[in-house]
């Protein structure tokens, strides 16, 4: 153990340390203030900067093969930090109005972020498991943050029960993979050359791992919890869970799958690919078709997040260099889009919890022109319409699928994107070409410049990245050096 190990782990240490600091602050400081939010942002920015510096350095494995320090892990560290910063910015006004303990919220999102970083940089399945649990447990609490609201309680309970259930499958998968390959270390695993005889057990382990993972990312047959939880949880938290949490799960699954020793599965590799491709196709179609019939915006976004998990699974099914890069790019883009979308919903939400129906968005352009404009950009990007960044993210994913010989899957993806564009564009039509349905202002006016700045930044990033996709592809390019 030496200094370079600690430098590799520094983003993780910063995130967790800031969380602990905020906990202490929260315990001893009785005066309400914005300090925890500012501290959260400072910590996340510091972590992102350190990760950015690490990214330019040589790739290595720290702590005797426990933690990766390469472009992949640092790229994800940066986007998790960005998600934390955006969430903290959006949370500011929302949480203070909804009367939630701000210190606890900040500490929890930082702990969740440190768990995600562990998932994206774990070089051992133990570290990945620990990261997954650190993140999930923080999310369980975050979902139930509104202690006195029944919806929030229920969301937390559902999320907790299904999350713990999924953890069981995930862990059993890890145990069987460990048993059949004889090691839990991903570096050691990828260096195994002799083909083991325990093919079926390894296959079962991978399938169980996929089941647990599909629960966590709300992919098709395991998605039922997502709409309920995203609807009941605090809106800002839903945005954070559905983006950063999913990106973390995808980073972990890419790490595990790309470390599988060649030939260990023999004929099984093709079966696994078919399973993942089927999950991807079903998630894309089901998520988008069901989202068509939703009348509540948070549920609509939840189903669309299932569809987006399907798009990302397409990259996992391909599992080639393009696929991994495409997952990185789309994870970053999706994170910006979805957090900003939930941010606008939080902004327009009334204190009583109304203002969440699609009808409430009718005629929004006349009442809140800026909110409508930003939401329009986000919706166009979610629909994957050029020149916004969502288009390029999808383009690379479909390209990866075609390169891997999964042309049918890319076609399913394109078809489902066309279906999806209907309900994304419907919101734009509602906002710009319809009169407000309610005589009174359907949505309470809350002026909040900080939220606007956060959403504006995310939308600007979507436009810039859409016009110059090279910025992202260069960043992921380090991975393949």
């Amino acid at each position: 153990m030496n200094n370079t190990d600690f430098i590799a782990a520094l983003p993780l240490i910063i995130l967790a340390g800031t969380g602990l600091l905020i906990l202490l602050w929260d315990a001893f400081e009785k005066t309400p203030s914005r300090a925890p939010l500012i501290l959260t942002m400072a910590g996340a920015i510091a972590a992102a900067i350190v990760a950015g510096i690490n990214m330019t350095g040589p790739a290595s494995v720290a702590f005797g093969g426990l933690l990766y320090d390469n472009a992949f892990s640092n790229f994800f560290t940066i986007i998790f930090s960005a998600a934390t910063i955006l969430t903290a910015l959006l949370a500011e006004r929302y949480l203070l109005e909804e009367e939630v303990l701000v210190g606890e919220f900040c500490a929890l999102i930082l702990f969740a972020a440190s768990g995600m970083v562990m998932m994206a940089s774990g070089a051992d399945m133990l570290v990945i498991f620990l990261g997954l649990e650190t993140m999930s447990i923080a999310f369980y609490v975050l979902a139930g943050l509104f202690r006195t609201k029944t919806e929030s309680n229920e969301a937390a309970l559902k999320y907790f029960l299904l999350g713990a259930f999924a953890t069981g499958f995930f862990l059993y998968g890890i145990a069987l993979i460990y048993g059949s390959l004889g090691t839990m270390n991903l570096v050691a695993m990828s260096n195994i050359h002799s083909v083991t005889t325990s093919g079926p057990m390894l296959l079962l382990g991978l399938i169980l791992l996929i089941v647990g993972f599909a629960f966590k990312v709300a992919a098709f047959p395991f998605h039922q919890w997502a709409p309920d939880v995203y609807e009941g949880a605090p809106t800002v938290v839903s945005g954070y869970m559905s983006t950063a949490g999913k990106a973390a799960a995808f980073s972990a699954i890419v790490l595990v799958f790309s470390s599988m020793p060649a030939g260990a599965l023999a004929g099984g590799a093709a079966k696994i690919q078919i399973v993942i491709a089927a999950l991807a196709a079903c998630s894309m179609l089901y998520g988008n078709i069901v989202a068509l019939s939703q009348t509540k915006i948070k549920r609509m976004l939840a189903y669309s997040s299932t569809a987006h998990a399907g798009y990302l699974l397409l990259g996992v099914a391909a599992l080639n260099a393009t696929g991994v890069a495409a997952i990185e790019i789309y994870a970053a883009v999706y994170l910006l889009m979805q957090i900003a979308a939930f941010g606008i919903v939080a902004l327009l939400e009334k204190e009583t919890g109304t203002g969440l129906n699609l009808d409430d968005y009718a005629g929004l352009a006349k009442r809140r022109p800026w909110a409508a404009f930003l939401l329009a950009i986000i919706m166009l990007s979610l629909a994957g319409i050029p020149p916004f960044a969502g288009f390029f993210g999808k383009y690379y994913l479909f390209l990866a699928a075609i390169n891997a010989g999964l042309t049918w899957l890319a076609i399913v993806g394109v078809v489902s994107s066309i279906i999806a564009s209907y309900f994304y564009l419907r919101i734009i039509v509602l906002m710009y070409f319809r009169e407000p349905l309610h005589a009174d202002d359907g949505i309470a006016v809350k002026e909040n410049n900080i939220s606007y700045i956060a959403i504006g930044l995310a939308s600007a990033a979507l436009v810039v990245l859409g016009l110059m996709p090279g910025l992202l592809t260069d960043a992921t390019g380090y991975f393949f050096k």
Binding site: L20, L23, L24, A27, S33, L96, E99
Partner: protein, 157 residues
Amino acid sequence: MLNEFSHVFAFFLLAIIFVAGGIISNYFIRPHKPNELKLSIYECGEDPIGSSWLKFNIRFYVVALIFILFDVEIVFLFPWAVVYKQMGVLAFAEMLVFLAVLIVGFAYVWVKGDLDWVRPKPYIAKLDDLISRDKPRIIPRPVPTMAQPVPEEVVAG
């Protein structure tokens, strides 16, 4: 013949014989003179009141939850103790960090009043507190009510 499990089984058998033998011989030797007071349920010398199937105060659970967390963390001390001599100062420093993290959690629980029997109401910042700082702020004060609407029929025995 005897493998590891038969040793265990022998101990198991011995334990059953020891306990059962005590109870059975006791039954034959003891005098049988029951009266009402002797047959009543023994509860710390007090007359029992009501059924024993009561709702316990929710504070018990909270304290138990906190206990479980700190209790299980001890599991990491065992492997640490085994390798402590070989690793020296580094192991000591790492355990200090580990305990420091635990202590932060403990301090949080303590200061927040979760270890008190009557928990103070959490003070939640409102927007007005931040916007109009000149306005007199509500000082958080411990409210002497039970934090939850569970019937208070039960107190520790």
